[in-house]
Amino acid sequence: MNSRFGYMKIVYFLLSLSVTLIVIVLLSLGFGKAPPFGKFLSPQHGFWQNAEPATQQYSGDLNISSIGHSTEIYFDDRLVPHIFAQDESDAFFAQGYLHAKFRLWQMEFQTLVAAGRLTEVLGAGPDSAFLNNDRSMRRMGMVYGAKRSLAEMEKDETTKKQLTAYTNGVNYYIENLTQAELPLEYKLLNYMPEKWSPLKTALLLKYLSFDLTGSESDVEYTNAKAFFTEEEFKKLYPLWHESSSPVIPPGTYFPPPFDSIFPPPSADSLYFKWKHAVNVETIKTDQDNGSNNWVAGGSKTLSGRPILCNDPHLGLNLPSLWFEVQITTSAYSVYGASLPGAPPVVIGFNDNIAWGVTNASRDVLDFYSITFNGNDKSQYLLNNEWKKAELIIETYRMKDGSAFTDTVAYTVFGPVMYDDRFNGKGRVGADINLAVRWMAHEPSNELKALCDLNRAKNYNDYAESIKYFSCPGQNFAFASKTGDIAIWQQGTFPEKWKMQGDFIMPGTDTSYKWKSFIPQQENPHILNPERGFVSSANQVPADTSYPYYLGGDYDVYRGLQINRMLEIMSGITPEDMQRMQNENFNAFAEAAVSYLIQHVKFEALTDDEKTYHELIRTWNRRNDNDLSGPTIFLNWYEEFEKMIWNDELAKQPGASKVPQSATLIEALKRDNTFPFIDDINTPEKETIEDIATKSFQKACVTLALAEKNGKLSWGRFKDTGIRHLLRMEPLSRLHLNIGGGRNVINATQQYKGPSWKMIVQLTDETEAYGIYPGGQNGNAGSRHYDEFVSDWADGKYYRLWHMKKNESADKRVTSILKFSPSFFK
């Protein structure tokens, strides 16, 4: 009896033990999208630990072996760290530490995207979307380019030291991170951070290149060229817009080119008249990734000193792309917006100068059509001979542990991005093999440009430092306390014959390669122009007197409006500049609305339609949030544009590109009988009046619905939001009721817009303002997570505090973090 009871006791115990273990294991595993519940909900380990007290302090004393001297970090009331270090190495160590402390998940996630490793944390995704994104990144040579640039950076002793210090700072934080402190997103997705490396910083910089140079339309133009006549093509995609107001004032003298290049003799037959549509969906970034910058010189300001303004328009995300920081060493003191994942300050000012950047929007990414010998892609035709391709096997690890492998062939032009294994959407039959030639493949050291710029004292230092900035090409606006103002369109740009690379080029002939690069000195630039200001807004850099081919994909109206305003402004104050950055006047609407209204057949409209007609007729052409005019205009123009282009474009095989809005309005104003007006799908011949009226009526249907839902006012209709990087709504700030939009200086669209707004007046005591739609702490459990969003939406600014060492007792200092050198490892 006893032994049987004893036996049963053991069974009960083992049973209970097994159940307990199974429950623990199940609660430690994540299923599908769900996080592991036990681990995630434990108050001592899970997400509760990320719920920071509202009064959280960030003070501390750390002994660190890899720094040289004591370093102090003063956090102000907005959680901006003011780093005071003896030398740059200690300062960058601190910056790396701070980026990691407040933005670790984001900076690593962005480098995973760049490295094509998204599947490791998210899986292949719906319809293999994440896998396709990863394949696009690797196949376009992102990692290849990053590795080459890293080698270039590490050749430079100073850059290498800077990168090492920064990396050490990030890794010091990661190594001392506990499960409880792990950023929320790691807990949600159930994975752990890797150690940081200089390659990750290089990848982040390459990702920026992709974001800013990845909007080219070579495939779409090739398809259009294959279908339309040459004359039609020129009408659809002209190389110049009359409304353009170039970065460099027209009339500026350009020296003759250092050399003239011409298309290869075969170009006429193999390139221009090559009629072949392409079944490829290229991955591309939004063409609206634009920016504004301008500087009013002393002659135009009230203080007599320059005022520099910059607002880069990028995707609006939480955690924000930017992190505000002050870096002060014994040699210099700089303040501005930094990119988590890289030292130092990207856009900012120091004791002597200020600078800001906008995208140059030049085409530095071209495709070549490759002919392989057989299916294994080991040989390709080049100058009538078979040349060996380098085959790289790419392995993609999935979240569930499985793997996907892919082979990429590298040619003299670059990696073959699209082929029979991949057309951007997955696997397709053989159609065309496209090798990509991209400026970001070239080794370059942009970090050196930025680090030197951070410590620049005058125009010469600025001009010298930016020379190292190769890709993505940027318009660097500059102002100094000595009163100099300048702008350089800086980057390494291939010298191209007219229309070289606008279409897919023959990849069987080396004479189509980029031959040389435009000498840096010949990049468009101007110092202290007569008109008293410099500006850029992604428009064409110079007029047709610039001796090199520039292509035609440039923004038109923002630059026009900025230049018009600066032209007439005088006695400018920083407050005027704040108003100007928030300016909602729509120069495109100014050009288009009267024309459209003039051609509507008013008598054909119903009473309801006439109400909307009256609203847009009396609209002041401003994209203010409470007006209905911008909503009516947007919907009307969209329908109008579709009716003009879509009938023709729908007949064109392959991906197509809707022509720019400036193209259409300029063409119609020149010629009321523009051939594309007619709807080719109907027997009758439509006039501009027919199309204007029909499109208005069609828009009215959408407008009536919007009105019914209380979304007729522009701010409600546009519905701006700052989305979490994982697109999780509860971690986002959506439905912000604000004005602005495309073609407007205040370029706030639904999910992109001014990601960092900065105004710097270079008086003896610098007067600077700035704001970004986010908060310094990337932790959604912190009150600093989205702290600035409401003020940003209201168009407000913060006075930026360029702290001095003797101000450590200032009441704005809320926490002090000290790093002391330690001799013990």
Partner: protein, 113 residues
């Protein structure tokens, strides 16, 4: 009395374990206490259940009050729940079950001995 003392000791030990060990250490704590302070299996289960539930409830309440409910609100929406109170209930329930099972196992081990 034994019941309340066990709850108190389990709670304290689980808290201490939680500072250094993974989240499931609450099961270890209730297992140890249940095998040292003998109670019937059912009473032990209830001890572990209540101890961890109360511990987590108190910790969560303190964290959440200091945080002004910012994160709990967001996470409850991420997880598709009606409100942050449901997240509190779910968290405490998970802790309670794991704690209870740990204690039950501890008590049954004691019976074997």
């Amino acid at each position: 009395m034994k019941f309340f003392i066990s709850i108190l000791v389990t709670g304290l030990l689980a808290f201490a374990c939680g500072l250094y060990l993974p989240w499931w250490s609450v099961a270890v704590a209730s297992f140890i206490v249940a095998s040292l302070i003998y109670q019937s299996p059912l009473r032990s289960f209830l001890t572990g259940f209540c101890a961890i539930m109360l511990l987590w409830f108190v910790l969560i309440l303190m964290i959440n009050a200091a945080n002004d409910n910012i994160l709990a609100e967001r996470i409850s929406l991420v997880m598709g729940m009606g409100g942050s109170y449901m997240l509190v209930i779910l968290s405490c329930a998970i802790g309670a079950v794991v704690g209870g099972l740990g204690a039950l196992t501890g008590s049954l081990l004691r019976k074997v001995m």
